[in-house]
C-alpha cells in the first residue's frame, strides 16, 4: 500500500471488488448446479452448525465491518476539515490514521459480504427469490453504489499526500464518500425494514408498490439509529486501535500521540452514544405504530431478559467510560481538585444502573405469565419505562458531568462572574435532575400513550438542553481561563487503555445482541406476517445459546481486527505512505 499512485490504488480497488463479485456469482452458479435441490419449502441445510447460525455469524460480522467502514469516514473527514481550517498537523495525522484503518477494512468487509452474498441465495433460495421480486432493483443499485463508494474511498486515501495543498477539494471528496456511505446504509436498512415492518405488498406477498415496500415504518428510524451507532462503533474501534498502539508503543512521543488519539476517539464514540437512546426510542415508536404486539413482544415478552442484558452491557460501557475519565484526571494539572466528586458520581451511576437492570415482565414465556402473573408486585414498579427512562437519563447526565469535570480540570475561570457561573452550573445539574425525576414520577400516573409520546421525549429533551446549556456556559466561563498546565498526554497507566478496549468489546457484543433481537422480533417469519419461516430453525433459541453465538462472533471480529492492526503496523515498518508519521 505504501507509495502507491492514485491511479494504481483505484485500479486495485476496482479489481478487488470485481474479483469478489465474480467469485460470488461463480460460486452461486456452481453451487446451484452441484448441491441437491432445496427442500419443498425452499431451504438447504448448512453442515454441522445449521443454516441459521452460519448466516447469523456471517451477517453480523459483515454488519460489524460495514458499521466500521461507514462510521469512521464521518469523523475522519470531520477531523480533516478541522485540521484544514486550523492548520493543525496533529488533527491531520489522526484523520489520516482513521482513513488508513477504514480503507484497509474495506477489503475484509467486502470478503465477508461475498460470503453472505453466496450463503443467502444458496441456503434460503425461496426467501431470496421473494426479496428479489419485491426489492430487486435496490440490490442492483447497491452494487453500483458499492463500486462508486470503493472508488471514492480509494481515491480519498491514495490522494491524501498528493492533495495536501488542495485540502478543500480533498475534504469535499471525503464528504462525497460519506454521502455514498449513507446511500448504502439507506438501501440495506430498506431490506431489513421490509422484512420486519413490511408494506407495499398484498397478504400473499404480491408486490403492490415498490416505493411503499422501501419506505416502511422502520426504514428511516433504523437508518438514523444505525448511522449514529456506526459512528459510535467506528470511533470505538479507532480508540481500541489507539489503545493497542499505546500499549505497544516504544517511545514517549508515540505514547503521547496514541493517548490523545484514544481519548479523542473514545469521546467521539461516547458523545454520539448520547444520541442513541433517543433515536432508539424513535425506532421503538415506529415498531409500536406498525404493530403493538411486535413492540410489546420485543420490549417485554420473550426478549424481556435480554433488555436486562442490554442494561448490563450499557452500564458496563458507561462504567468503563467513567473509570477512564476519572483516571484521566491524574494527567491533568489541577485534576486532583475534582477527585472528591468522583464518589458522588459513582453512587449516582450505581443507583441508576440498579433501576435500569430491573426487569418489568419477568415471565419468560406466556406459560410462565399464566403461572406467576405478568409483573413482579414490587420490582415491577421499577421495571417500567417510567423508572427506566429516568434512570437512563440521570446515568447519562452523570457521565456527561465526568466528561465536563475532566475537560475543565486543568483550568481556572478568570471571568468576573465565575462564582455566579459555578452556581449556575450547579443549578443546571440539580435542576435538570429534579425535572427528570418529577417527570418520571408523573409518568406513572398517565396513559402509556402520554408517557411514550410526550413525557419520555421531554425527559430526553431536558437532558440535551442541560448538556447544551452546560457546554455553552463552560465555553463562556472558561474563555481565556488560567491554564494550570497542559494535559500530560501519554502519562496514563496501562489499565486505562484496557478500559478503552473494554468499551469497544462490550459495544460490539451489544451490537450483536441487539441485531439478534431486532431479527428475532419477527419470530417465525422471514417477512413479518407475509412469508413464514418453515425451516427447522424457525424458533427463537435460548438466551444462553444466543449469548454464546454473540461471543463467538465478537471474538472472530476482534481476531480479524487484530490482523488489520497488525497489517497496518507491518506497513508502517516498511515506511512510506502507510507510516503513522507520514
Amino acid at each position: 500500500m505504501a507509495d502507491v499512485s492514485v491511479k494504481k490504488g483505484l485500479t486495485k480497488g476496482v479489481i478487488k471488488l470485481t474479483v469478489l463479485l465474480g467469485i460470488s456469482f461463480l460460486f452461486l452458479f456452481v453451487l446451484g448446479k452441484l448441491l441437491p435441490t432445496p427442500t419443498e419449502d425452499g431451504y438447504r441445510v448448512f453442515p454441522l452448525i445449521g443454516s441459521r447460525v452460519w448466516v447469523w455469524i456471517i451477517a453480523q460480522l459483515h454488519l460489524n465491518f460495514a458499521a466500521f467502514v461507514l462510521g469512521v469516514p464521518i469523523f475522519a473527514v470531520s477531523m480533516e476539515f478541522l485540521s484544514w481550517r486550523r492548520s493543525d498537523e496533529r488533527l491531520d495525522r489522526i484523520a489520516y490514521d482513521f482513513t488508513k484503518l477504514f480503507t484497509l477494512a474495506y477489503t475484509i468487509t467486502a470478503a465477508v459480504g461475498t460470503l453472505l452474498l453466496i450463503s443467502l441465495p444458496v441456503l434460503y433460495p425461496k426467501f431470496m427469490d421473494h426479496m428479489m421480486k419485491i426489492l430487486g432493483p435496490t440490490w442492483w443499485l447497491y452494487i453500483v453504489v458499492m463500486y462508486v463508494e470503493v472508488m471514492v474511498c480509494y481515491y480519498y486515501y491514495y490522494s491524501w499526500h498528493k492533495m495536501k495543498d488542495n485540502k478543500g477539494t480533498h475534504v469535499a471528496i471525503g464528504g462525497l464518500l460519506n454521502i455514498m456511505g449513507v446511500i448504502m446504509l439507506l438501501i440495506t436498512s430498506a431490506w431489513v425494514g421490509y422484512m420486519t415492518t413490511p408494506a407495499g405488498v398484498s397478504e400473499t406477498g404480491e408486490l403492490l408498490s415498490r416505493w411503499k415496500a422501501i419506505k416502511t415504518h422502520m426504514w428511516i428510524p433504523l437508518s438514523i439509529h444505525r448511522l449514529c451507532a456506526n459512528v459510535v462503533f467506528g470511533a470505538g474501534i479507532a480508540a481500541s486501535y489507539a489503545a493497542y498502539r499505546f500499549i505497544v508503543a516504544e517511545t514517549d512521543e508515540d505514547r503521547a500521540y496514541y493517548d490523545w488519539m484514544g481519548y479523542t476517539s473514545a469521546m467521539i464514540s461516547i458523545g454520539f452514544s448520547l444520541i442513541l437512546p433517543g433515536v432508539g426510542y424513535l425506532l421503538g415508536v415506529e415498531i409500536y405504530s406498525f404493530n403493538e404486539q411486535m413492540g410489546i413482544q420485543l420490549m417485554g415478552g420473550f426478549f424481556a431478559w435480554l433488555w436486562v442484558m442490554q442494561a448490563i452491557l450499557i452500564g458496563a460501557i458507561l462504567m468503563f467510560v467513567n473509570y477512564y475519565l476519572w483516571i484521566s484526571l491524574n494527567k491533568m494539572p489541577g485534576g486532583e481538585r475534582y477527585f472528591k466528586y468522583v464518589k458522588y458520581l459513582f453512587v449516582t451511576m450505581l443507583l441508576g444502573y440498579a433501576v435500569w437492570l430491573t426487569p418489568h415482565s419477568v415471565a419468560l414465556s406466556l406459560d410462565e405469565a399464566r403461572k406467576m402473573g405478568t409483573y413482579h408486585p414490587v420490582l415491577g414498579n421499577l421495571g417500567v419505562m417510567a423508572a427506566k427512562n429516568t434512570a437512563v437519563v440521570i446515568t447519562y447526565l452523570a457521565t456527561f458531568l465526568s466528561f465536563a469535570i475532566f475537560k475543565m480540570s486543568n483550568k481556572e475561570a478568570v471571568v468576573s462572574w465565575a462564582k455566579l457561573g459555578n452556581a449556575l452550573r450547579g443549578l443546571i445539574v440539580i435542576g435538570s435532575t429534579v425535572i427528570v425525576l418529577i417527570l418520571g414520577v408523573y409518568s406513572y400516573m398517565v396513559s402509556s400513550a402520554v408517557r411514550v409520546k410526550i413525557l419520555s421525549p421531554i425527559q430526553f429533551g431536558v437532558f440535551f438542553l442541560a448538556i447544551v446549556a452546560l457546554f455553552i456556559l463552560d465555553a463562556k466561563m472558561f474563555k481565556g481561563a488560567k491554564i494550570l498546565g497542559e494535559p500530560r498526554w501519554g502519562k496514563m497507566p496501562e489499565r486505562s487503555q484496557y478500559a478503552l478496549i473494554g468499551i469497544t468489546v462490550t459495544f460490539t457484543w451489544l451490537m450483536g445482541m441487539m441485531g439478534y433481537m431486532r431479527s428475532g422480533g419477527r419470530q417465525y417469519w422471514h417477512v413479518y406476517g407475509i412469508m413464514q419461516d418453515t425451516s427447522p430453525d424457525a424458533f427463537l433459541p435460548t438466551h444462553g445459546f444466543a449469548s454464546v453465538v454473540t461471543s463467538i462472533l465478537t471474538v472472530i471480529f476482534f481476531a480479524l481486527m487484530g490482523l488489520l492492526f497488525y497489517g497496518i503496523m507491518k506497513l508502517e515498518k516498511k515506511g512510506g505512505q502507510g507510516g503513522a508519521k507520514a
Binding site: I247, Q293, S365, L366, I501, T542, S547, V548, T550, G562
Partner: protein, 175 residues
C-alpha cells in the same frame, strides 16, 4: 509488543466468556417455538372447546402479551378473569347480540374500544396471528366462560363469525 498483544487477546476473550457466562447462567433458558394450529372438530364438546380456547389464548393467539389475567394498574388491555361478564354488559349497552360482540372484538376490534383503553388490538384472523375459524370460536367460548353464559359453539356459530369478518373486510381489510 508480543506481551501487549497477548494481554489484549486475553482481555477480549475474557470479556466475551464473561458475557456468554451471564447469558448461560444468569438469564432464564427457554426457547420460543412457533405455535401449532389446533384443529377444532365438528360437534366438539363445550368443555373441550373451552380448553382449546385457553390453550390458544396462551399460545398461538399471544393474547397474554397485552391482556393480564387479573386487573392490574396500567394494564394495556382488559383483564381476562372478568371479560365474559364485561362483554355482556358492553353488548347490552350497544344493543347488539353477545355473539356478534365477542367475534367483533376478535376480528374487527377497532370498531369499538372500551373506555380507558387504546386502539391497539390487531384483527387476529389475519397474519401474523392467523387464527382459523375453529380457533376463533374456541377463544370466544373461553372468553365467555369468564363470567357469562356460553352461547358460542362450533360449528353453529360460524355464520355469525363470518358476518363479522365480512364487516371488517368491507371496512377496508382484505378479509
Amino acid at each position: 509488543m508480543k506481551g501487549g498483544a497477548i494481554k489484549l487477546f486475553v482481555l477480549v476473550v475474557g470479556i466475551n466468556i464473561f458475557f456468554a457466562y451471564i447469558g448461560l447462567y444468569f438469564l432464564p433458558q427457554s426457547q420460543s417455538l412457533p405455535p401449532k394450529t389446533i384443529k377444532i372438530e365438528k360437534g366438539i364438546a363445550q368443555d373441550e372447546l373451552i380448553a382449546a380456547g385457553e390453550t390458544i389464548l396462551f399460545g398461538k393467539g399471544q393474547c397474554m402479551v397485552c391482556h393480564p389475567m387479573k386487573p392490574e394498574s396500567g394494564m394495556r388491555a382488559p383483564a381476562i378473569a372478568t371479560i365474559g361478564a364485561d362483554m355482556v354488559k358492553a353488548a347490552k349497552e350497544r344493543n347488539i347480540p353477545i355473539e356478534n360482540y365477542v367475534f367483533e372484538g376478535l376480528v374487527n376490534p377497532a370498531e369499538y374500544i372500551q373506555k380507558g383503553f387504546e386502539n391497539m388490538m390487531p384483527p387476529v384472523h389475519k397474519a401474523p396471528t392467523s387464527l382459523t375459524e375453529g380457533e376463533l370460536i374456541a377463544v370466544s367460548a373461553y372468553l365467555q366462560s369468564k363470567g357469562a353464559n356460553i352461547t358460542i359453539n362450533y360449528p353453529d356459530s360460524v355464520p355469525i363469525l363470518q358476518d363479522e369478518i365480512k364487516k371488517e373486510t368491507k371496512k377496508g381489510g382484505n378479509g
